[in-house]
Symmetry: C2
Subunit: 630 residues, 2 copies
């Protein structure tokens, strides 16, 4: 049973995914808890919303079983497909009913045109517009999500008949847009990675060729100017020549994911190099501390280097998911720990922050600051998570990621297991089995018990995150003086059942500064601990001083303490010295008068991903630094 984006045996791969069922995340751990919440709350919520918002009725219109008006976005089918994919992974993870999936598969089969076309928006009222506006029609993007759902279903035996539907559509794409066909590409990448996955499932080479063809055609202006210019959809320069992540962040991430998939299956290493290069550029100047990407609301785009305002951070949930998926592919292809580091960062912050504790409401954009008096009246800038969106791409995208989360925790080959994401789990790889016990990321200790050891020596590789300055390893209580090599501690031995490996990843609370070119957070710091970014939320500060007037005393020690939501970082805050109400005023010759010492308070900062789970109010990740006493 394979998981997402598992390369074929002949693909370039530094690491190999384990089967989908190799890792079982313990529901008592943070990641396993998220999976349980996804299964018990988010997925049922998605099914309800698809029914309530007309996504299913849209498809039933095509089969003549509904006379409702078309509802929602023109690519509303993708919400159904992403939910289908999530249900498929969930079936693979926990078993459970496949009834809904089977029903939907039958509906899709009935709705599909004889030639394979399937799109509830373009099959009825807009039939004459089919394939006429690929910049914005999302027809191939929609096909891509259908294909991904089908691949997941086939891998988990969730609703295998979906593959028939998906292949019919994919075959239509090959006939129409394959070699010798029309030179067209979709404005929203997605079909590329989907086609490679379908190739991996079926072995049918034309799917892979079509994916490669789409990548090659991109960057030559085929899509025209559109509303935001060719950089918006990465059509301004061929990918193999590009050197900067640009435009719509989700499009960029999905495009690069497809590029890695094609690269590893075809051996076209220039595509892999391009993906690494653009990933690097995004991380170097266009990524929020949370791993979120996309600084602009207008075009959901990256913006310039260092343009990273926390208040207007768009940081779309889907971009964070795309970043995670890209990093996973790059990790498999290269084995470099930095990609797993990024998976961890974006998972615990940019992705996790999108979902409410109850799993039933979500952020689409994920700001790093909300001011007192924020106008949250519109869904573009809500003050709290919403149960659904007019463009509901994110919730089912979260569902499909969470339902398959265990697939990303470890990799393995014949002679080794590599652990990338730490959470309480059981990992089975061939003859080996590991029991992982930990409260990570709240606790630095990870205990790994070898439950089945197999024969002969093999290597256990444990990722040491780049944020960790002090990693200690013991085996059966004895300190092992292994050096961290390229992000991993590796221990090779003939393991015995009952061996216990303990990894201590020191995770002191820490103050983080941004590069001085990030103007928006100058003279401010953020609090982090381990992979988790923290934030200051209104409810944790004493009344009497307005939220925006607190400053962080960087000279006071930080400590970790209890909080109703999660382990918190306790830091010292001081009210800013009083100043004029004027919006602009002469620069004071000297810093304003010092605040009386007795007004300083110690207050908890909470994990960013848990903000907005109490009464609505202001929040900030980047906290102004109190002037240093001199």
């Amino acid at each position: 049973m394979e998981g997402p984006a598992a390369p074929t045996p002949s693909a370039l791969a530094a690491l190999r995914p384990l089967p989908l069922d190799a890792v079982r995340l313990d529901p008592g751990g943070l990641l396993g808890g998220w999976q349980e919440r996804n299964a018990s709350a988010t997925l049922p919520h998605c099914l309800d919303q698809l029914a309530a918002y007309g996504n299913l009725a849209n498809l039933r219109r095509v089969t003549g079983d509904s006379d409702a008006k078309f509802a929602g976005m023109w690519f509303a089918d993708t919400d159904v497909y992403k939910t289908l994919e999530a249900m498929a992974w969930e079936t693979g993870r926990s078993g459970g009913s496949t009834e809904w999936m089977t029903d939907i598969a039958a509906l899709l089969e009935k709705a599909q045109d004889a030639d394979g076309y399937l799109n509830s928006y373009y099959q009825l009222d807009h039939r004459d517009e089919q394939w006429s506006d690929l910049g914005f029609s999302h027809e191939m993007y929609t096909a891509g999500h259908l294909i991904q759902a089908a691949v997941a279903a086939a891998r988990t035996a969730g609703a295998p008949q979906l593959v028939t539907v998906a292949r019919r559509f994919a075959d239509l794409l090959v006939r129409r847009f394959g070699a010798g066909g029309e030179d067209l590409i979709d404005g929203h990448p997605e079909v590329e990675t989907a086609l490679v996955e379908l190739y991996r499932l079926t072995g049918h080479a034309p799917y892979l060729s079509l994916a490669e063809r789409f990548l090659t055609l991109r960057g030559h202006g085929l899509l025209g100017e559109g509303r935001f210019g060719p950089r918006y959809w990465q059509d301004h320069t061929p990918l193999i020549d590009a050197d900067e992540a640009t435009g719509h962040a989700v499009r960029q991430m999905y495009l690069l994911a497809g590029a890695v998939d094609v690269a590893v299956e075809t051996g076209k290493t220039a595509l892999l190099a391009a993906a690494e290069r653009l990933w690097e550029s995004a991380l170097a100047g266009k990524t929020y501390l949370t791993g979120g990407m996309g600084s602009r609301h207008k075009d959901e785009g990256f913006g310039d280097n260092y343009e990273l305002s926390p208040d207007r951070a768009y940081a779309e949930t889907c971009a964070a998911i795309g970043s995670f998926q890209l990093a996973w592919r790059l990790l498999l292809a290269t084995g470099k720990a930095r990609y797993a580091d990024e998976m961890e960062r974006v998972l615990y912050n940019g992705i996790a922050g999108s979902t409410a504790r109850d799993g039933r409401s979500f952020f689409y954009s994920n700001p790093l600051q909300l001011r007192t008096g924020h106008d949250g009246s519109h869904e573009d800038t809500p003050s709290q998570r919403l149960t659904w969106y007019s463009c509901a791409c994110c919730p089912p995208n979260l569902a499909r990621l969470m339902a398959s989360l265990q697939a990303y925790a470890a990799t393995g080959q014949e002679k080794g297991i590599q652990l990338h994401l730490y959470s309480a789990a059981t990992v089975t790889a061939g003859a080996y089995r590991l029991g992982v016990r930990t409260s990570y990321p709240w606790d630095e200790r990870i205990d790994i018990t070898v439950e089945a050891a197999g024969d002969g020596p093999w290597t256990l590789a444990l990722r040491v995150p780049a944020w960790c300055q002090d990693a200690r390893l013991t085996v059966n209580g004895s300190l092992v003086r292994a050096g961290v090599q390229e992000g991993y501690l590796r221990i090779t031995r003939s393991w015995k059942a009952g061996d216990v490996v303990t990894l201590l990843l020191a995770m002191p609370a820490r103050l983080v500064a941004a590069h001085p070119r990030v103007d928006a957070v100058r003279a401010s710091a953020a609090l982090t601990r381990g992979p988790v970014v923290y934030c200051l939320e209104h409810a944790d500060l004493p009344a009497g001083v307005e939220f925006e007037d607190w400053e962080l005393d960087a000279s006071a020690p930080l400590s970790v303490g209890e909080h109703e939501l999660a382990p918190a970082i306790h830091a010292s805050f001081r009210p800013r010295p009083e100043s004029s109400d004027a919006l602009y005023q002469p620069l004071a010759a000297h810093p304003a008068g010092e605040t009386a010492g007795e007004t300083a308070v110690t207050a908890p900062a909470i994990p960013y991903f848990l903000w907005a789970n109490r009464a609505p109010g202001p929040m900030r990740v980047w906290i102004p630094l109190a002037a240093r006493e001199t």
Copy 2:
């Protein structure tokens, strides 16, 4: 000959405008130079662009004289009307040909429907959509600009037949939407102020009543949610209850301008109070240092209080013009100098910065920062001014303001003249005539010669801007110890021809800080002198250190010196101490190592309004402060 927004004799008015021809700005002064450039470059450019971009052909389609496709935005007629208005004011200012205006008036008369309707978009292909989407159709907004053009033409005798056309349309609006008619309002305010102007011209009370009715109907959700929610078009709460400037900045400014017009003509002081209150809220937390308004690209909207990122400043040129027009109305109604102060600030910065030195290219949005490597490939975020825009609202709006600029410089009554904007000029009011000689805002000295004194005592009132800490006045060389009263120095005497008044408004170069809640410019300062905001532009710094790595040494003295573009502020800059390239890193326990003293340079900052007149490159108004040496 009346100028823009001149109240009727019975209106509430603390100050009275002078006739349009009372002030003649000297072309050698800055304001007069702008007027000349407008006449010689911007207006001909607008005429060319209206022809080239199809705006005129759109109207000729309606008359059957063109078979071109409709071109541009659905409200493209407004570009014609604003240009017409500009041409009318220019006729009033300098005489000159009215041929183009007469031709267009004839075209409009021919294009107008029998019932008075006129809109080239909705008269042909979209006739069945008339009045069906007032949220976004801009039909009344378009009518409003037609009316304003007609009023200007009537006042200057530019093309008086336009009034016939405008009244036919206005009468249609009265029949359809007046008392007892449909309860509808336009999503984009503009018709309100236009209707009051038409009432002022014609004395026809139903126009005033309709304007008041539109204001009363607004705020009750008639426009629905639209794309951005009801706050976008200020339909979320009745104006008389509103307490915060919200939504689309141009809409907010135009709405408040209309509210003041209605208030002063009807005596409904609650509307005036609302306009003052909302203006206050905008100035207190939602206005850039340049006077620009609107922090968000997505909805061209204000955003939250203190959300004032310089890089993503939208600060639309039309919003700055709207702010100027609103402040003018508030000045007349209340006589408060703060409104004239704001006219001055936004004129010299937010408005002036939009236009290139040659008067033929323009900014639509006016950022306060452009980074090295900025992507200026799209018209939403260009690196330099563009000759035209797909939505070309701003250039002709500039033209109509500049063509009437002299109208805003002074006011007068029987016993006095009030000077608000200083530039070389001749001011004639009844029996009095003043000759103003000054190089303001480059020089602090303003010499005013009484050229005709009339009989008996009268009062000369001279505005002392709030930025000025030291104003000195002499009359015929003798120091006058008059106190500044509510923003004005007032001298009452029996003037004699030849009397010379000299006002010295000390204007040292100054460092300005923003309120600490403006997170985006923390630990930075801006340079100003008098009313002019300065900026640092790439071309004025030595090579070898990248633009973003310069910091301002606030401890070094500032001086004013020559520069090819304008008097510059010379300040001291130091390269930032070298730091890691990492986007995020642990906060240093102590500030980074000091920069060697010898690397500091003195470099000129130029007036913000002159940026982007050399090779494209980075610019910033807010400059990071070098760490203070301790």
